[in-house]
């Protein structure tokens, strides 16, 4: 048989061009991913490099002394304690409300209502932090003065949708057969929810809460109008404005003094360390608990 030589598909000009285009797009996509990783490395490395110098025991135990001479000890103990108090209170406010919200939405609410309320949470989640800050300023601070608990409230508003949505996600993973089994044994709905459903989700809720905490611990905007006029002394009193790490960084960075910049870098290192470690741990746990829950199905 004498068929005319088939055109060699793999050598044709057109194929070569299409492959070249595809190859170059693949290269660009890889480059984009590398770029993002590189930016992360550059930012973290420059924070680590510049912050490590000022990061010593004094940084955790001494309070800021802006008149300190070089070599004299100065630190950010008040900001560290203040951040602990503010964030801790915010967790106490947001966690119960967030979990109860998720229980209602997943276990009790009619489908329609649940959809609307979930949408409200998502919209709340999208409101800029600075707007929440202004809201709390208008609600509590204007005319009454700043206080750490007001800052906590602002952070709690940011945290609420994060906790609620994370809890909803793990609640949805609990198999319905568990609920049915418990109800069939005659357990009340509340008993079923608290003794059967919730224990399955503890891991997921803890990781969700940890991720949310990592998110809000670094927020500065809600603190500006609620807890920025703080003294330099270490204090635990939530009825007074307290210093905080994000504001310490923000205010020090605005000054021209290189020594303050060094302190700001050190504070940034502490903050970034906490945030990155917390989210990494939470992520590792999420992967595990999800595997467990979905694996059991």
């Amino acid at each position: 048989m004498s068929t005319p030589a088939a055109p060699d598909l793999f050598r044709s000009e057109r194929i070569r061009r299409r492959r070249a285009v595809s190859r170059s797009v693949e290269l660009l996509a890889t480059a984009a991913a590398l770029l993002a990783v590189a930016v992360l490395v550059i930012v973290v490395a420059s924070v680590a490099k510049r912050g490590a110098g000022a990061l010593n025991v004094d940084f955790f135990t001494k309070t800021p002394d802006f008149a300190a001479l070089p070599g004299q000890p100065t630190g950010a103990a008040n900001a560290i304690v203040g951040t602990g108090v503010i964030v801790g209170l915010a967790i106490l406010m947001a966690l119960p409300v967030g979990i109860l919200t998720a229980i209602y939405l997943n276990e009790l609410a009619p489908r329609r209502l649940a959809n609307v309320l979930t949408l409200a949470l998502d919209v709340l989640n999208g409101i800029p932090a600075i707007v929440i800050g202004i809201f709390v300023f208008v609600l509590f601070v204007n005319g009454h003065g700043q206080a750490a608990w007001k800052a906590s409230f602002a952070l709690a508003v940011l945290m609420l949708p994060l906790v609620a949505r994370a809890t909803q996600e793990v609640l949805a993973l609990v198999p319905n057969s568990y609920r049915e089994a418990s109800l069939a044994l005659g357990a009340a709905k509340w008993r079923t929810t608290f003794s059967v459903v919730l224990p399955q989700t503890v891991g997921g809720i803890v990781t969700g809460a940890t991720l949310a905490t990592a998110r809000i611990a670094g927020e500065t905007a809600p603190l500006l109008f609620t807890s920025s006029l703080a003294g330099n002394a270490v204090s635990h009193d939530p009825s007074q404005p307290l210093s905080s790490l994000p504001l310490f960084i923000f205010l020090s960075a605005e000054q021209a003094d290189p020594k303050l910049h060094e302190q700001a870098w050190a504070a940034a290192l502490v903050l970034i360390g906490f945030v990155l470690v917390a989210s990494l741990i939470a992520r590792a746990f999420t992967a595990r608990s999800r595997q467990r829950l979905t694996g059991e199905r």
Partner: protein, 329 residues
């Protein structure tokens, strides 16, 4: 249908059993109250901002949006000050769209890399690292922006761009200090790339494998599969992701106020100082002393609120529509 297996819910379910269970009532009331808190907060935020901004709304009206002056003496009433949002709206638009323009292709490319190209091991690691980028607190990014990125722009990036592309209005001036609109765009880009790319990654993972296999079997290259199958399939979702990124860029106050220079001015060159709505609010936390100034600041917050409500509702509606379409499929 999965509906049948869901136990009956709501108060009716308790009553049907004919036994009064106080624990259930407590649970119901308590959780309902908590669940309403989101809506209550939304309403309260809108109400409080409207009320507090009302002096400025009454005084300046919608002219607030088009007035460029901020905290300037009124030429007509020498004892009074006037406030306007025009230069901040301009700054917000320029920085947000600039950041979106840079971030969207990068984010989509990263998502493509993570779903289609990367080997399994690399995929997880790079995915986590990109997510970590989103976890960096904005104040830390801003600090880095002032002290590292700013000098780099002044000494390296700006001379290069001004030298080669100086005929473009956006690169027409040379920056004297590191605080400028360009720095804000770059910082915002860093912040929103991980947001857009993580949504896109989920979307691309949701594209049915058989569609992609079909295209590959027809001889399509990887890029042709992405362009012809993945992108069209995920189009609506990508739009929602971009809107979410836009909302984030518009609302970011701290990192922007640290690097943008805080100038009440409208310049086309990105190397000049400017300001955004969110950044202006953040910059005025001290010295908001007169009632009209506080009201004007809250007015700015109100503009941000309205924008974020619209953007988020739009994005969420798109996301929900896409999700329900996928469930149906």
């Amino acid at each position: 249908m999965a509906v049948a297996s869901k136990p009956a819910t709501g108060p009716a379910a308790f009553q049907r059993r004919g036994r009064f269970r106080p624990g259930d009532t407590v649970l119901y009331v308590l959780t309902l109250a908590a669940a309403l808190s989101g809506v209550v907060l939304l309403v309260l935020i809108a109400r409080e901002l409207l009320m507090e901004a009302s002096p400025a709304i009454h005084k300046f009206g919608s002219g607030f949006l088009t007035t460029e002056a901020w905290d300037k003496l009124d030429p007509h009433h020498p004892a009074q000050k006037i406030y306007g949002a025009r230069s901040f709206i301009f700054g917000t638009a320029v920085t947000s769209f600039g950041a979106l323009l840079l971030a969207t292709p990068i984010a989509i490319a990263i998502a493509l890399f993570l779903t289609e190209l990367a080997p399994r091991g690399v995929r997880g690691a790079v995915g986590v690292l990109v997510d970590m980028l989103a976890a960096i607190p904005s104040v830390v990014l801003g600090l880095w922006g002032i002290l590292v990125l700013g000098p780099f722009i002044v000494n390296t990036l700006a001379p290069a761009l001004h030298g080669t592309l100086g005929w473009l209005p956006i690169f027409s001036t040379k920056p004297s200090v590191g605080s400028n609109v360009f720095a804000a765009i770059l910082i915002l880009t860093i912040m929103i790339v991980p947001i857009i790319s993580s949504v896109c990654r989920e979307l691309f993972l949701g594209v049915p494998q058989e569609l992609k296999d079909g295209a590959l079997a027809l001889g399509a290259t990887r890029w042709e599969v992405a362009r012809g199958v993945t992108f069209p399939y995920a189009r609506a979702g990508i739009a929602a992701a971009v809107i979410l990124g836009l909302g984030r860029a518009v609302g970011e106050a701290i990192a922007v106020t640290q690097v943008i220079g805080n100038a009440v001015a409208i310049h086309w060159s990105l190397f000049d100082a400017g300001d955004t709505l969110a950044s202006r609010i953040a910059g005025q936390y001290i010295g908001a002393d007169t009632r009209i100034k506080v009201a004007s600041l809250v007015y700015l917050a109100l503009i941000l609120l309205v924008f974020s409500l619209i953007a988020n509702l739009l994005a969420q509606i798109i996301v929900r529509r896409v999700a329900s379409r996928h469930r149906a499929a």
